[in-house]
Amino acid sequence: MTTAPSPVREPAWSLPRSAIGLWLTESLISAAITAAVVIALLIWVPSDLGGPMAFLRWAVPFVAALEALVSIFVRPWFKHRVYRWEITAAAIYTRTGWLSQTWTLVPVSRIQTVDVTRGLLQQVFGLATVAVFTASSQGTVRIWHLEHGMAQRVADDLAARAEQTRDQAT
């Protein structure tokens, strides 16, 4: 995206394209909810309240519309370029976020538990999230939106290898 080199390596694998559909659906739903709230605001809050109300009456819908446009037409594709993951012989490595990005690296030897979760929307798109927990409350890696079969395979593989290589120095 930008010219500045990334501070750390880019994980090798991207997410399935259906993740874009999922993000798009999420954006559409949240945009619909926001629109409902904004319309309710415009209908039921009287315009002659004075104070900052006159300003808010056009600023709030404007900001909401802008947010909706970005989240529907830009963000899903942008996120698909940012979200990457990789499992190597020694570690799990992911990148998430969009404007702010986060790279997370957790070695297989420090894995404590591996979960696969499927949210409602994820089930519609045949996706699942693999969550890898460590002894640290902040050292949790989530690999979002993998194909369900893939997620299950990743989880099984990681759990089996963690069992083998776990060391006590949590």
Partner: protein, 544 residues
């Protein structure tokens, strides 16, 4: 060891303690208040006396019941605690999951020669160690408490094999790590936590006064203050009282604090009214955090917390030096973890970012103030905004001056914060993961923040706004070889080399009959490097 050991009971004297402190009866308070409100306090003195007697009797009955229903047993493999008034609960804590034992003696317990044991068990899973992972054995005689503590700790999973000949000796050689000097109490008024003690006391008192019905309170007129000198005097007296309260609070908690090493454990003893005896396994100490707030830095004071894996309530239990001179704190810290050397400053872009962030709030207020001044002619907000903005600059500079990181051969350090500055020194093996964060602004400034995830203390320690191209080197230097994964493939030669698309996950991850890890020669350079590095590890699982 042979035959079933009868379950042990706590001392019956604990019933007295619990009656006096309403320990069990306390849970009825939510029901008692509406009941009281319904009855009313109208009956005068005798009603009150009757109530007091009734409440005491209830307290006595519940305390006796719970004493009667409580028993514990420290078997060879586990501690079993049975309790429950109505529904019985049997809790079994395997010895190898016990992470620490705390012996405390509150004042009433001390009068009756009793102690209270808190057995801290490892919370399974994701480190969110809740308080419920704690077994409380309340009210055993002091000698039995000591016996139980040693029994539980010494029969823990890992047997002290090499030192076994010396181990049975009950009193091992002690080595003193720190001893509290009462002069250090004078630092207390500059430490937020201790200043909060008198404030909390005042708060609690005012709440109690609020609860008391109006008629009971004598109608005292507050003194009226007219002159500014009077107001100043009141403020001065309040400040002195606050400082005094902080010193007293610190004294109550830290009285005769001592930290000694006994065998493989660090033992901290402290407290004026409640004597607390906390034991930490040195093996589990992954690092230390040296904290010095803005006020403490003025007088050169600091505090030291141990970062211990799997320690519930770590803020209190991990304290290795509650309050003391900086030099003492550093000496203690070096004794527990290797010194990684002097901190490296973060780049100038980090200073710009700190200042920008510190000023943003003030600028927003200024902008709002400008709008108000223009539209309504109300200027105070504008002034406040300008003052905030100007104050933001030294704050940003101060926050920048705190930033730093260092890596040594066996440990590393990160420091952050201004109002509460904290330097964490951690062992390399402590790191269970890395998190690199980069916001849009950081990307433009060539910065990134790195969080070392550790299974101790707060769970993560951040190196804020490090130069982006230093991140990978820092991570590799501060943890074990697996962190090599983060190193960017050096551009551009290698990238041309590895132009081939990386293998898809489907081809790399085990599948169906071909279980186990397969890394074909398509693997990227980084993967190959890791494969080499981890060659010494156990071979990956194969399907049967």
């Amino acid at each position: 060891m042979t035959g079933p050991v009868p379950a042990r009971r706590t001392s019956p004297r604990v019933v007295l303690v619990h009656t006096a402190t309403f320990r069990q009866a306390r849970q009825f308070i939510p029901y008692a208040i509406p009941a009281l409100a319904a009855i009313g306090l109208g009956g005068g003195r005798w009603t009150v006396v009757g109530l007091v007697v009734a409440i005491t009797l209830i307290s006595l009955a519940t305390a006796a019941l719970s004493w009667w229903r409580f028993s514990y047993l420290d078997g060879p493999g586990a501690v079993v605690v049975t309790r429950g008034l109505v529904s019985r609960s049997v809790r079994t804590v395997p010895n190898d999951r016990i992470r620490g034992v705390e012996v405390e003696a509150p004042p009433l317990h001390r009068l009756l020669g009793l102690v209270r044991l808190r057995i801290d068990a490892a919370a399974g899973g994701s480190g969110g160690a809740g308080k419920d992972e704690e077994v409380l054995i309340d009210g055993v005689p002091r000698a039995e408490g000591d016996r139980l503590r040693t029994a539980v700790l010494s029969s823990r999973g890992r047997v002290p094999a090499p030192e076994d000949p010396e181990a049975p000796a009950p009193e091992e050689a002690e080595e003193e790590f720190a001893r509290f000097d009462n002069r250090w109490l004078l630092y207390a008024p500059l430490v937020g936590g201790y200043v909060a003690v008198p404030l909390a006391a005042v708060g609690a008192l005012s709440r109690v006064v609020d609860e008391v019905p109006d008629g009971v309170l004598p109608d005292v007129d507050g003194p009226t203050i007219d002159s500014p000198a009077g107001a100043l005097a009141v403020v001065g007296v309040a400040l002195v009282l606050l400082a005094l309260g902080a010193v007293i609070g610190a004294a109550i908690v830290n009285w005769r604090f001592r930290l000694v090493r006994r065998g493989g454990s660090l033992v901290a003893v402290r407290g004026l009214l409640t004597r607390r005896h906390t034991e930490l396994e040195i093996d589990r100490i992954r690092g230390v955090a040296v904290a010095d707030g803005a006020g403490m830095r003025l007088v050169g004071a600091a505090r030291v917390n141990g970062l211990v894996t799997g320690l519930g309530d770590a803020q209190r239990r991990g304290q290795l030096l509650p309050l003391g001179p900086r030099a003492e704190a550093e000496r203690l810290s070096r004794r527990l973890v290797d010194d990684p050397g002097p901190l490296v400053r973060h780049p100038a872009a980090a200073r710009r970012r700190r200042i920008a962030r510190a000023v943003t709030g003030g600028l927003l207020v200024t902008a709002a103030g400008a709008v108000l001044t223009a539209t309504a002619g109300w200027w105070p907000l504008l002034v406040a905004g300008v003052v905030l903005t100007v104050l933001g600059v030294p704050l940003g500079l101060g926050r920048y001056a705190s930033l730093g990181h260092a890596t040594g051969p066996r440990s590393f350090a990160v420091r952050v914060g201004w109002l509460v500055r904290e330097q964490a020194v951690l062992e390399r093996r402590a790191v269970v993961g890395w998190q690199v964060k980069q916001s849009w602004f950081q990307r433009r400034g060539g910065l990134a923040s790195v969080v070392a995830c550790v299974g101790a203390g707060r769970g993560g320690y951040i190196a804020l706004d490090m130069a982006a191209d230093e991140v990978a080197r820092f991570a590799v230097a501060a943890s074990e070889p697996w962190a090599e994964q983060l190193v960017p493939l050096t551009p551009p030669a290698v990238q041309r080399d590895d132009r081939r698309r990386p293998p898809s996950p489907w081809s790399v991850l085990p599948h169906g009959g071909r279980c186990g890890w397969t890394l074909d020669d398509q693997g990227t350079r980084a993967q190959r490097r890791t494969a080499e590095l981890s060659a010494g590890r156990p071979s990956p699982p194969r399907c049967r």
